[in-house]
Amino acid sequence: MNGSNPIELSIAVVILMGTIFGFLGSIGFIRLPDVYNRAHALAKSSTLGVLFVLVGTFLFFLFEGYFSIKLFLGIFFVFLTSPVSTHLICRSAHHSHVELAKESVRDDLKEALEKDTKKNTNIAGRLME
């Protein structure tokens, strides 16, 4: 692979963009204040970064004369698993009462959960009587 070929150059640019997205994701991971915001940064790098790197690799092998469907399967499975893990991490963090960063402006879920537990305790109290 050399840089004089325009096709290979554009493929290199695509892969470089993928790595830049991964890099920005790691920067966000270090700089952002709490678990939830860090999950955003990681989700971003793992979606866009992986998308660009794998599409670039796919194009490279396509011009080498090899159609690799495996790389698309890779994109598919990352897109399937990364949101599930992000959701589970955030959900378990919220359920184990990890505080939101102090900049946070609202928390509808906490109110809803409190209302829920109050209702449940009311029901439990009525059952006790």
Binding site: F21, L24, I27, G28, R31, L32, P33, D34, Y36, N37, A39, H40, A41, A43, K44, T47, L48, L51, F79, L80, S82, P83, V84, T86, H87, C90, R91, H94, L100, A101, E103, S104, V105, R106, D107, D108, L109, K110, A112
Partner: protein, 159 residues
């Protein structure tokens, strides 16, 4: 949809065997013929013609890629600024979608777009609790993309 694809494959194979010519080209022409036959007869199977469903899926993917890029640019702009000025928070979002499959698809798509993570789904599948990185800017963006996603998902799953 699965039934229609099976019938279509069957017609393709049948055409290939009728021609007594085991090649991709005869199979493919049979498959195209099957598409035409299914288009005429699909209302007897009482579901939507499956090419329309595939078209809806492609449209959903295109909408998703567009949202992915626009919201990524927003989030990256927030993270690389020298002083991080964000107002994160969790907000409730009501959805008109019904059923596990539709709600799962919507929350997958919302979680995949940067800057918003579905933290919890209410037990009755009606409200999604979404953590957004910057409430004043992103909640509008999430709302807009939610309505787009909902429309596209309904086109995929409903008749």
């Amino acid at each position: 949809m699965a039934v229609q694809v099976l019938i279509n494959l069957f017609i393709g194979f049948l055409w290939m065997f009728f021609q007594d010519d085991w090649s991709y080209i005869s199979f493919f022409s049979g498959y195209l013929l099957g598409l035409a036959i299914l288009f005429v007869f699909h209302r007897f199977i009482s579901t939507k013609y499956y090419l329309f469903t595939i078209h809806a899926i492609v449209q959903l993917i295109l909408i998703f890629i567009y949202e992915l890029f626009t919201s990524s640019i927003l989030v990256i702009g927030k993270t690389v600024k020298p002083k991080i000025n964000i107002k994160p928070g969790i907000f409730a979002l009501e959805t008109s979608l019904q059923g596990d499959a539709e709600v799962t698809m919507l929350s997958l798509l919302i979680t995949l777009t940067p800057g918003s993570v579905v933290v919890e789904v209410s037990p009755d599948n009606k409200v999604l609790y979404i953590h957004a990185m910057d409430i004043p800017e992103l909640s509008d963006a999430v709302l807009r993309s939610k309505t787009k996603f909902e429309k596209a998902i309904k086109r995929v799953t409903r008749q």
